[in-house]
């Protein structure tokens, strides 16, 4: 009953003060967290334009006394084919995504709208496939690719990801809500199922396809495990593997060049994210919408 005393002294001034203090506290926590999140990016950019002397005197300064960016970036570009790594990343992500969409969209349409023998069994397999990370089939796939003499090819880097059970699952959910009447009307108009899939149903699923594309591209741009296994030729390395080769090479403790390389290889995705913020957030968290 002593609680009853509490509400009494809430005067306007006090409540305003309380509001102010809680705002300070909230932003304090958020800003502290934001510093933790941003620190590596800031430090990466700052270090990439510092001369070695300033890096090695371990002074904490957020701006170099002597601008050394040209030398660091020049050295990094000269020592490793960084643009080639980025290009490999684009080829890898593009190739994977195109095949994923070509395979998953018709399959998802069939699972959602057509009845055919084995449909339920296939869907169960798709659901089971969702639980199997690429590290599981990796070894047999590696042995098979080695036997076929296909190691160190773009194909080897892409092949385990051609089938995305997640894409099938996601698109199936989306296609199921597509009205049957429209499909039937299209059939009466003499459209083939092939045309229905690509010209009617697919455009309607644009948000899901865009989200999946971002998800897929980010995942494969950043993947290290599989390229590390099948690629030993530096000219074929996607960004993470390229970064690893570069860091392993003589650069050792040349942090100026290392951070310059890191900046170049991180930039494409980060810039894309800053430009298409919502699309990115939707795309990467699309796994959570299940």
């Amino acid at each position: 009953m002593t609680d009853l005393v509490l509400p009494a002294p809430v005067t306007p001034v006090r409540s305003a003060l309380r509001r102010f203090l809680s705002l300070v506290l909230i932003h304090g926590v958020l800003i502290a967290g934001a510093v933790f999140m941003l620190a590596p990016f800031v430090w990466m950019l700052v270090t990439s334009i510092k001369p070695p002397a300033e890096i090695f005197n371990a002074e904490i300064s957020l701006w170099p006394k002597q601008f050394y960016g040209l030398q660091n970036y020049g050295f990094a570009m000269e020592k490793a084919p960084l643009l080639r790594f980025a290009l490999n990343g684009v080829i890898l992500c593009g190739g994977i995504l195109i095949v994923q969409l070509l395979v998953a969209i018709p399959c998802a349409y069939a699972l959602a709208k057509l009845s055919f023998p084995g449909r339920n069994a296939l869907f169960v397999l798709v659901l089971l496939g969702l639980c199997i990370p690429v590290q599981v089939p990796a070894m047999p796939l590696y042995i098979a690719l080695a036997q076929l003499g296909l190691l160190n090819t773009y194909f080897a880097m892409m092949v385990p990801f051609f089938l995305s059970v997640f894409a099938i699952f996601l698109f199936r959910q989306f296609f199921r809500s597509f009205p049957d009447d429209i499909i039937n009307a299209a059939r009466l108009d003499g459209m083939s199922e092939f045309e229905i899939v690509w010209r009617i149903v697919t455009p309607s699923a644009w948000p899901a396809i865009a989200a999946f594309s971002v998800f897929s591209a980010v995942a494969h741009w950043n993947d290290l495990y599989w390229p590390l296994i099948v690629i030993s030729d530096a000219r074929l390395a996607p960004p993470p593997l390229g970064m690893m080769f570069f860091a392993d090479a003589e650069t050792g403790s040349n942090y100026g060049a290392l951070t310059a390389a890191a900046t170049i290889l991180t930039a494409p995705l980060v810039i894309a994210f800053l430009v298409a913020r919502r699309r990115f957030i939707d795309g990467i968290t699309v796994t959570g919408v299940k």
Partner: protein
Amino acid sequence: MTLALASASGPAPAARRRLRIERVTGLGFALPAFVLLLLTILLPLAVLLWLSFTNYEFGGVDMDWVGLANFRKALADPIIRRSLVNTLLYVAIVVPGGVLGALLIAVLVHRRKRTRSVYEVIYFLPVTSTLIAMATVWQFLLHPSLGPVNGVLKWLGLGPVAFLSEPSTALATLAVIGIWQLLGFNMILFLAGLTAIPRDLYEAADIDGCSGGIDRFLTITWPLLGPTTMFVLVTTMITAFKIFDTVAVMTRGGPVGSTEVLLYNVYLEGFQYFHTGYAAALTFIFLAFILVFSAVQTFALDKKVHY
């Protein structure tokens, strides 16, 4: 006779034709996916199972059936035990940090109006960045003599900490980097969950005299966020259990095995030492954990209905 036949299939020919077309196109549309499923998941799984019962070494010539010897060896192997303990320890740090941290940030960000999108971008940035490249930056940040983190510690009068080369701190340091990477992802999932909570519930709570922030959180937000929390918890567990990148680049299992994790050992045995049979058995141990986590998720998502 002809009449009976006609009436049995009378209105049907068109419909039957339709049905046949549907079955054929259905099969045709599913075929490429099925072939890929067979070649890149099912067949490799069968081969992997078979390999796990042999002593096959990639590149070697002979191969013997050894039964469960690989599994027995794995369970008795002190290195594998240590890597399993390390992996679970890593999960045990990343999960509470990554989930509770994200929940706190999401609750605080959710009520901001003007600054919300700024915070969203900042916290989400690490999710989009290439972890391998950022790992190099972290290595420098945490450098015992050159890194700014130790610079700050020194300024505070604390001795330098060799975060990544000290067995007692290396795994925890990797876990902090793991949290840094996935916090923004979890935050967005929590924000989606928070947006789904009806506003009038809070107003009703206000009328009922439950006005303090913490009160409101405990009586409304937390229970209604249950399914989201469960989902975030399980995905974080699976992601953390698959830790590989930072270990491969920053510590390579060291110092003195303190950051050896399961997937890294699978990689070493399978693709560096080429103990293929043994690595196959390890892969199944890895898969067993992932399946258990996934089962928890399915169970939890079924429960969602009851909230």
